[in-house]
Amino acid sequence: MGDRFESVVDVVTRLRGVDYLADPNIAGVVYLADKLEKPVLVEGPAGVGKTELAKAIAQSTGARLIRLQCYEGLDEAKALYEWNYKKQLLRIQADREHETSWEVVESDIFSEQFLLTRPLLEAIRAEEPVVLLIDEVDRVEIETEALLLEVLSDFQVSIPELGTIVGRQRPIVVLTSNNTRELSEALKRRCLFLHIDYPEIERETEIVRVRVPEIDANLAEQVARVVRSVRELDLKKAPSISETIDWARTLIYLGRSEITPEVIGETLHVLLKYQSDIAKARKELVDSPGERKPGIASAKR
């Protein structure tokens, strides 16, 4: 049982200490992950702070962050371990003159000093506290996913030449997914599931204020409100939190203290990245902000 955090409130305060504002849901799951020693699978739209969460946990618990970036074609050699082939070859060549027996050489070249540890093994063998981040796990093939299962459920790996290596401690493991494909049931079962969505206005305002300290409260709130309004539109890619922050910074650099349709028009490209989205938002917010499509978030029914 982990004891990195004392209570859910403790999670909130400590994450806050490293500028990560967690809502009750996030904090509750992080607390549970520590207590149950289970990995957390974090899902949600791009740019809502999934990776950031892992970094914040590491920083707030004083642990080292070990990151495994997933991509299509990731295999054992890149995720787990690899023998240092070149070094082994040198070792054998250096031995030529001494006529040592093959057994000796073999036991020698398959020893720890010829082992190249990759992120997963590194996390398992770590002496000091670590947080393991497996980023964008939805990008690996299903076969590779299976490789993760042993690591995630028992926190151990088997290396044929060395035997099974069992982790000395249970780090917090965070997996992130952009949900480009359905992850296997087996993987999901082993994880706690956390969906992070775009934040509420109050939380986003706070995030902006924490991340862009020079902004004044009023402008920060306006920023959050305009961004929410933009997210209500039917867009290809809604603005993420990081884009909100970028936008707030842009406004500061431009010396704007108030948001008017003109200001939005000038800086919309910071918030939105598709031409069609920019055009749509411009039409809605800049040209005729008074009108609106019926039906969007109608309060009535």
């Binding site: 859910v8 206005i201 349709p261 069609s276 917010l285 902000p289 978030a297 309060a299």
Partner: protein
């Protein structure tokens, strides 16, 4: 507590959520570590352990609200303890009745709500929501109506539109919102958000009282709603439509990724003679290492012919949207819509990424009425045949969408017969339950004779299964 939890898990499974043994155990271990008094944390813990798909979250939240409604902060603690009398005190519409705050008039209550909404005082709002429910919902113990009915009655009396307008008006008077369209828009969105919050509180309150009256399990069962992938296209409510709309995009993306991956991994293609000979040079001319071509992915061309008359319009809309969203998986997607006339609508989908916009255009701009605007499959099909017969080739799969309710017109099923000879496959998707086929004016079996497959397609799950089959060729 464990009993409540087991009942809860049982109900989740009843609602169609796959909750495994391990997950159940995790949930039980999980709640040991937290303070059961904090509802949001309990929700977080149970949600994280029991629900592993975001699209099931709404179903989870409903069940959670029912099961843990008695733990929720009550509008008035006294009322919560003293159940039947207090809860159903203020009787239907009758303003003078007893119960909490029963002697307030509608105007007074509206005034108080307005103030609470302006300061966004949630506790006060909750108290007022409780009062409103006592006064307007007219709840009677044991009466077998759903919560929606009470919700409707309460909200009608509260008149949210009026509240919203008054909030706007007052805020403007006080100069709290800048006097420009943008400021107004933002303010309006803000107020609508607050009203949604109020609506939520009213719902919560009604649910709490219903649970107190009928018991948790009965209540959860009445509130059970199909998961988005099981919603019937033909009978979807407006909210469900919106849900479906949202579910489509991610679903097509997942499906496309899965198909692409499967296609890539499928066995190698034909022998590549040239490269094999070239490789054999290394072995003195012995072809020791055969080389293969990369498999050529055969992508079918899809032709969708959809009935968009009233009864099946929403089904056609979703299917068109789904198929066009999957366009990358096919060499080409063309579509036609008809009622009694037929019109090609491919142009609306091509060159735009906004598929819902395209569907909107289909609904408004396509020329589909020939005589009277009642479905006439026979006429539409024969026109299709005259115009496009030649374009149907061995590569095309033709998919017909509709309930085959032909208003007793001639079926003209020779069209399908002729198409079946030319096309790779002819399929028919029918949004009606199988039991209704061939009843009344439905003549599906007339057409089924010449189809390679006729499928019942009532929800996203069935639609997804069908698209997988055709995309795999």
């Amino acid at each position: 507590m464990l009993d409540v939890l087991q009942g809860f898990v049982h109900e989740l499974r009843g609602a169609g959520l796959p909750v495994s043994m391990t997950e159940n155990l995790d949930a039980m271990r999980g709640v040991e570590h937290i303070d059961m008094g904090d509802r949001e944390i309990v929700r977080a813990v149970l949600g994280a352990t029991l629900v592993k798909q975001q699209r099931h979250r709404a179903a989870f939240d409903t069940v959670f609200d029912v099961y843990f409604s008695l733990f929720s902060p009550a509008a008035d603690d006294r009322a919560a303890l003293d159940l039947p009398d207090e809860l159903f005190g203020g009787m239907s519409g009758d303003m003078s009745g007893g119960g909490a705050g029963g002697d307030l008039s509608r105007e007074e209550l509206a005034e108080m709500l307005l103030r609470a909404l302006q300061s966004m005082d949630v506790d006060e709002l909750r108290r007022l929501a409780g009062m409103a429910v006592s006064q307007f919902a007219g709840m009677e113990p044991g009466r077998p109506v759903g919560g929606t009915y009470y919700l409707y009655r309460t909200l009608r009396q509260l008149d949210l539109d009026d509240l919203s307008a008054r909030m706007m008006g007052q805020a403007q008077e006080r100069g709290q919102i800048p006097d420009d369209p943008l400021g107004e828009r933002l303010a309006r969105e803000e107020f609508e958000g607050r009203l949604r919050e109020l609506r939520k509180l009213v719902e919560e309150e009604i649910r709490r009282r219903l649970v107190a009256d009928r018991g948790v399990e009965a209540m959860a069962r009445t509130l059970r709603k199909p998961l988005p992938e099981d919603v019937d296209f033909m009978h979807a409510s407006r909210d469900e439509m919106i849900q479906l709309q949202r579910a489509i995009q991610p679903l097509t993306r997942l499906l496309a990724a899965r198909l692409a991956q499967r296609r890539r991994r499928r066995h190698r293609g034909h022998l590549d003679f040239r490269r094999t000979v070239r490789a054999s040079m290394a072995y003195g001319g012995v072809p020791a290492e055969p080389k293969f071509r990369r498999p050529h992915p055969s992508k079918p061309e899809i032709m969708v012919v959809a009935d968009i008359s009233g009864s099946v319009a929403s089904f056609a809309r979703f299917t068109l949207q789904f198929v066009h969203a999957m366009a990358s998986q096919f060499s080409r997607v063309r579509s036609w819509v008809f009622i009694d006339g037929i019109d090609e609508v491919t142009r609306f989908f091509e060159g735009t990424d906004d598929i819902s916009e395209a569907v909107h255009k289909v609904n408004t701009e396509a020329d589909v009425v020939w005589v009277d605007g009642h479905s006439d499959y026979g006429h539409a099909f024969s026109v299709f045949h005259d115009r496009h017969e030649r374009e149907v080739t061995q590569k095309s799969s033709v998919i017909f969408l509709g309930d085959a309710r032909n208003n007793y017109h001639a079926s003209q099923n020779w069209v399908l017969q002729s198409l079946q000879k030319r096309a790779r496959h002819v399929y028919w998707l029918n949004p009606e339950p199988r039991g209704y086929w061939d009843t009344g004016d439905s003549i599906i079996s007339e057409y089924a004779k010449y189809c390679d497959g006729v499928f019942e397609c009532r929800n996203l799950r069935q639609l997804e299964r069908f698209v997988t089959t055709i995309a795999e060729g």
